[in-house]
Assembly symmetry: C2
């Protein structure tokens, strides 16, 4: 707790009212949050009307949320909290040369309902004006051996050329447009058609838009493709990949870009279905991988073991 | 920012995206809040599922709020934030002997619509089973001269014997039951009938109840009467008073009790309208009061100048 000219016992008193049946972890996490909120109020000498403005803002977050709009999730994203939690969950303190593919945030648009599709197929159900189909291919590889991992699940989702996901855009997109799961073949390879992604604005007609405007920040996400790759024997990865020619890479409004996630589309010849090509491979670490001393320390938990519910 | 094993530049990067048109105060207040939230996540190594639980909880706050239920306000109260903001706004660094009546939190039940009533009248429109009427009298006094202040507005509101305020309880209470404004007489005195207040539980069927249960805390507020006293020439005070025999004084779930706000009801003889008596006087400081060196420093702003909107 920071020193201040205010009652030095107030926060202690509030924490002291937590009862004996509170779990140790709830006491730690919620107690720390209460302490930080108190320190914030004291350090900024928060005024009554600033506080009232803030509490109305908090109420507005839930009131703007619907079954297809999770404004609480979006608010966490624009203050960097989801990216930070992702870093904490997947921190690799690595001294060695090996590392699995970096993770990035899930975002609010993943769906548990995406269908399995055939290798060589397409996730483009509803081609939009101006969309740029691309042949997307690569391998899911073992971090240690470099060999392909057969039967891994490669789950992909992306926005359409208008910057909207299927359930934000029912007038133009059928359910599961630009979503799909693929199983890698005997060589650990996957290949299918998707779109070169398009940069888009977060919705600005809700509380997130209010906050971005207050902070004089743009609402743009760089173009990206969402990926979630899993296999029973490997630590799964949820990530995003970003075309290197995007102007918003350095100022992504949700702070999800990492250097090794920047990719390059190249021209593709002789394919009537796509004029662009993307080769991108993913590296996974086995769940039973034991790092040598000073080497990679793998994240303790697997992201896909939790109950993900991006829809409210 | 606290040191940690995580990316030391992440929070700086988020703060650096705040644009040049952001006001200095918004940059300070919102930037500090973002920093504290990041530090909290790093210090507790917040997990993905804890974060997801939290964001659903934030959404639930607004979703549980209605025109007569402000769950965001209640949430601030049970973590002590409203009491802390009240302390910050009204801090008196006093070395002298004089001080105005202490403030306490407004709470979510004040109404701008309370009617003016005649001195000697009653705020009890709908007597409830078990209620204990009391004759409430006293003086609004100048902090320096000790003289009564005529024509001050004495605004009072309280819960009924069932622990509910009028707009929480339309089946038993008519609008403005147990609310009223009085003007002090030529001597600065007020007198009317009200109830000895009753301890009550905050509503526990919403997010505040979830949090209190997680923290193993009781939901009880000690019995109290809300007061808001104002006069054009004086710094107004919003406060609460608490009967000294209440068992929840030390563990008020919104942390609003201060020593000088604890009062004593005494028996009253020969009044068919009330068997209890409460004498309680209020001290106000003039807006133009200039403290001597080392003496009371008065709060810079007046609480009633802001737009109070306890109803959403």
């Amino acid at each position: 707790m920071a020193p201040s000219r205010f009652d030095p016992n107030f926060t202690h008193h509030v924490l002291d009212t937590i009862g004996p049946k509170c779990t140790d972890r709830n006491r730690e996490v919620i107690g720390s949050l209460i302490t930080h909120i108190h320190d914030w109020a004291r350090e900024t000498e928060l005024s009554v009307d600033e506080w009232m403005t803030g509490l109305k803002f908090v109420n507005s977050i839930g009131q703007a949320s619907t079954p297809t709009r999770n404004e609480g999730h979006r608010m966490c994203d624009i203050i960097g909290l989801e990216s930070l939690v992702d870093e904490i969950a997947h921190k690799l303190v690595t001294e060695g040369n090996m590392a699995p593919t970096s993770s990035s945030i899930l975002g609010p648009f993943w769906s548990p309902d995406a269908p399995f599709r055939e290798l060589g197929g397409s996730i483009i159900q509803d081609p939009a004006p101006g969309c740029q189909p691309a042949f997307f291919h690569g391998k899911v590889k073992d971090m240690v051996t470099g060999k392909g991992i057969p039967n891994a699940i490669f789950d992909i989702w992306q926005a359409s050329a208008n910057g909207k996901y299927d359930f934000q855009d029912p007038e133009n997109q059928t359910p599961n447009n630009l979503r799909g799961k693929f199983r890698t073949d005997a060589n650990g390879e996957y290949y299918f058609y998707a779109l070169k992604p398009t940069a888009y604005s977060l919705p600005t007609d809700g509380p997130a838009g209010v906050l971005l405007k207050l902070l004089d920040r743009h609402p743009m996400r760089p173009a990206h493709i969402h990926l979630m790759i899993s296999h029973d024997d490997y630590i799964p990865v949820t990530t995003q990949i970003f075309p290197k020619d995007d102007p918003y890479l350095a100022t992504d409004t949700v702070y999800a870009v990492k250097d090794d996630l920047v990719i390059d589309f190249t021209p593709r010849e002789g394919d009537p279905k796509a004029k662009l090509d993307l080769e991108y491979s993913v590296t996974l670490a086995r769940k039973d991988y034991e790092p040598a001393a000073g080497e990679a320390v793998l994240p303790p938990t697997s992201q896909t073991t939790i109950g993900l519910e991006p829809r409210l």
